[in-house]
Subunit: 397 residues, 2 copies
C-alpha cells in the first residue's frame, strides 16, 4: 500500500513556541537559565536529531536563556548538525578530552549568560529524568560550585512536553497507523515452526518496508497457553500450535514513537486466555470512553481499568502490580509522563498522547497478558491513534 507521508521536521515557529513555554517557567521560577543534557530534551527544544546519541562518550549541553533561542555547549563533532537547529550561539570543544570534557566550557558559558553573581539554574532532577553527564562533572556543577544554585524544573518541563502540537500529533498518528498495518498483516505471514527471533526479524523488515524509520523497541514472548515475561528479547524457540504470543513494539517515524502490542494465539487458545484478552480490551474501552478532557485524571483511568481487571479486590486497598502502571505518555520517548497509577493526578488535556496498557494475571500458571493502545486526548474526548484491537484474542489458524 502506498503511504502518504507527512512532512518531516518542524518549522522554526514550533521551537519558538516550545522554548517560549520554558522561558515562562524560567521567569515564574525566577531562574537565570535552564540546563538540559538529555537526547529527548535537547531535541525537543532545538530540533537536534541524530542517532549519534548511541555513542555514550560525549556529554552535550543546551542552555535556555530568558530570551531568544537556546545556547549549545557541545562536542565539535556536532556543530555542523546543530547549525541547522533552533539555536543562538554554539560553543564547542574537541571531545573526548583528557581532563575537562566540556564542564569547564559549560561553566564559562553559564558565567557569560548569567553574570558573575550566584546563578539560579533550572535542571531536570526528578522522576523519569537523567542528567546525561559523568557523575564527577555533575558534582562539580551542582554541589561543588558555590556560585550555582540548582532548582528542579522536572514538573514544569514534563508538563510542556506532555501537550503535543498539531505537527507532533500528525507524526504520532502516522507512526501508529503504520505499525497497526504491520500488525494487521502479521497473521498472513506467520506459521508454526517459525522461531520467535525470526518472527521479530520479519516484523522489523515489514515495518521498515511499510515506511517506519526504526524499531528501537521490540520485545515479547511466546509460550504454550501464555507467557510470563513482557520485556524479554526473543529466543530461538519455534512457535508451536497452542502458543500464545505477544509483540510489544516502539517504532519511530521522524523521531516520534508508537508504543503498543498485540496478542495472538496459534491454532487455539484456552477459554481463560480468551477471557483475559476480552477483559483487557474491556478495561481499555471503558477507560477511553471515560475520558473527559480537563476533568479526568490518570488516576481515574487507573481505577476505571483496575475495577474491570480486578472486580473482586477492595479498591481502597490496591496492591501495586509488577508492571507498575496501566499506561503512560508517548512521544519523543517510548515512555513519557504521565503514568496511569493510583497516585498520578495529572489531568488529561487536549493534545496529550497516551498509551492504555492494562495487564492481567490468568490461568493456573499465572500467565501475564498485556494489551496496549495509543490514544490522543482531543478537545472533546479521544481519538484512537492505533487501529483498536478487537475484543477477541486473534487466533491464527
Amino acid at each position: 500500500m502506498q503511504q502518504i507521508f507527512p512532512k518531516r521536521g518542524f518549522d522554526k515557529s514550533e521551537f519558538i513556541d516550545r522554548v517560549g513555554k520554558a522561558q515562562k517557567v524560567l521567569s515564574s521560577r525566577k531562574l537565570d537559565a535552564i540546563l538540559l543534557s538529555s537526547e529527548a530534551d535537547i531535541r525537543y527544544f532545538t530540533g537536534f536529531m541524530t542517532q549519534f546519541w548511541q555513542s555514550p562518550t560525549r556529554p552535550w549541553y543546551i542552555i535556555i536563556k530568558p530570551e531568544g533561542a537556546p545556547v549549545a555547549v557541545i562536542p565539535s563533532i556536532g556543530v555542523q548538525l546543530m547549525k541547522n537547529c533552533y539555536i543562538d550561539d554554539i560553543h564547542s570543544w574537541s571531545s573526548p578530552a583528557e581532563h575537562d570534557d566540556g564542564i569547564g566550557l559549560l561553566l564559562q558559558v553559564l558565567q557569560t549568560i548569567c553574570g558573575s553573581n550566584t546563578k539560579h539554574l533550572g535542571l531536570l532532577m526528578g522522576r523519569e529524568t537523567n542528567f546525561r553527564a559523568p557523575l564527577s562533572d555533575i558534582i562539580k556543577l551542582t554541589t561543588e560550585n558555590s556560585q550555582i544554585k540548582c532548582f528542579d524544573v522536572t514538573g514544569e518541563i514534563q508538563k510542556i512536553r506532555m501537550i503535543k502540537s498539531p505537527l507532533e500529533i500528525e507524526k504520532l498518528r502516522f507512526i501508529c497507523k503504520l505499525v497497526s498495518e504491520v500488525f494487521e498483516d502479521l497473521p498472513n505471514w506467520i506459521s508454526e515452526g517459525l522461531p520467535l527471533s525470526d518472527l521479530f526479524r520479519t516484523f522489523k523488515i515489514k515495518a521498515l518496508t511499510l515506511g517506519v524509520d526504526d524499531t528501537p523497541y521490540l520485545v515479547g514472548a511466546a509460550g504454550a497457553g501464555g507467557y510470563f515475561d513482557i520485556i524479554a528479547p526473543p529466543n530461538d524457540q519455534p512457535l508451536r500450535n497452542g502458543d500464545i504470543f505477544m509483540l510489544d513494539t516502539g517504532c519511530v517515524w521522524d523521531g516520534y514513537f508508537s508504543d503498543f502490542d498485540r496478542n495472538f494465539a496459534l491454532g487455539h487458545a484456552s477459554e481463560k486466555a480468551q477471557i483475559a484478552h476480552q477483559t483487557l480490551i474491556s478495561a481499555t474501552n471503558e477507560a477511553v470512553k471515560s475520558i473527559k478532557p480537563g476533568i479526568t485524571t490518570c488516576r481515574d483511568l487507573f481505577h476505571t481499568m483496575n475495577h474491570i481487571l480486578y472486580p473482586d479486590i477492595d479498591q481502597s486497598n490496591l496492591k501495586s502490580d509488577d508492571v507498575g502502571r496501566f499506561g503512560h505518555g508517548v512521544g519523543i520517548q517510548l515512555t513519557e509522563p504521565p503514568s496511569h497509577t493510583s497516585w498520578d493526578t495529572t489531568i488529561l488535556q487536549p493534545g496529550m498522547t497516551i498509551t492504555l496498557e492494562p495487564s492481567i494475571i490468568y490461568g493456573e500458571k499465572d500467565f501475564l497478558m498485556v494489551a496496549e493502545e495509543n490514544i490522543l486526548v482531543s478537545e472533546t474526548g479521544f481519538e484512537y491513534l492505533t487501529k483498536p484491537c478487537s475484543k477477541d484474542l486473534k487466533i491464527i489458524k
Copy 2:
C-alpha cells in the same frame, strides 16, 4: 548466503570471570561494594539484556559484593527476566513510584550488604560514563548521605571491559562479517535518483535479512563532490551523479556492535576525493600494521595516522580536530574506551576490539571524509574484523 550463526548468550562461567575481576578491584581499592546503573554495565556483569532500556522511566541498580553473584535492586517489571541472569538476590519495587522510586530500597539493601558503618562505594563517575538515575536520587546517594563515601572506579571497570573474551570476540567478528557483506552488496542495488532516506531504509532491511539483530546507528551524508556532516540522519534528497556518500553504521548481533563506514561515489569522483580516500586507507593500514600488543598505545596509533593525514603539520603542535579522535573501542556499546587521541596512553592488549577511524578535510569546499575499520588486537598483532576497504574509493557506475 546462508549464515552460520554463533551461539547466543554466555555461560555462567563468563559472568563469574567478569564479576571476579570487579571483585579484585573492590578488594584492592578497599571498597565495600560497587554500584552500577547503566545498561551496558548491568548487562556486562549480569547478562541482563532487553530493549526495555528504551523506556527512561525507571532506574535500575546492580550491586557487586566482595563475593558471589551481584545483587539486583530493580523495578518489579524486570524480575522475571533478571531471574535468568547471573544474580544472587533480587530486590524489587513497583515502579514508577510516587515519592521514592527505588532509592530508599537501594539504601536499605546497601545497609544490609555493607553493614551500618560508613560504606565505601565504588561508582563510575568519570569520562564516558553516566549514572542512570534521577539527579535528586544521585544527590541523596552521593552527597547527602553521610554514611556513604563514593570512590570513582571508572578506570578499573573500563579496563576490565576493554579486554574481550573469546565469546565476545566471536560475536563481534560475526556482526562485522555480516555488515561487511551488506556493504559489499550495496553497489548492486543502489542507483541514481534514490533518496538518501530510502538508501538508509534499504540498507537496514538488507542487514536484517542477512542476520543482523538491529541497526541502532546509521548516519551519513551525500553531496556533490563530498559531504560535510558525519552524524546526520538522512534527508530525502535523491542521489545524483557525482555525489560522494558515506554510510556509518553500528549494527548489533546478540548485543555486540560493529561500528564502521564505507564511502562511495556515484558515477565519478574528483581526484582530490580519490586521494583523500587513499590517504585515509593508508593511515589505517599503517596504524594496523604498527600494532605491537603490549607495547603500542592509542597515542601511538593517533600519531601514526596523523602523520599520514597531515604530513606537513608540526607533530608537536597538533590541533584537535572536530571528530576528536581517530577511533575507539567497540563492544557492548557503539563507542567504548580507549580513544585514539594524542593523550590516551592506553596500551593495546590482546582481546581489545577497536575501530580505526581517521578523518580528513579535502577540496576547496573543505569536505570531510571518514573511513573506519574494526580491528581485534591479537596475541601477535591484529586481525581485521571488518572486510578491509580497498584503497581506491568505490565508484559506482
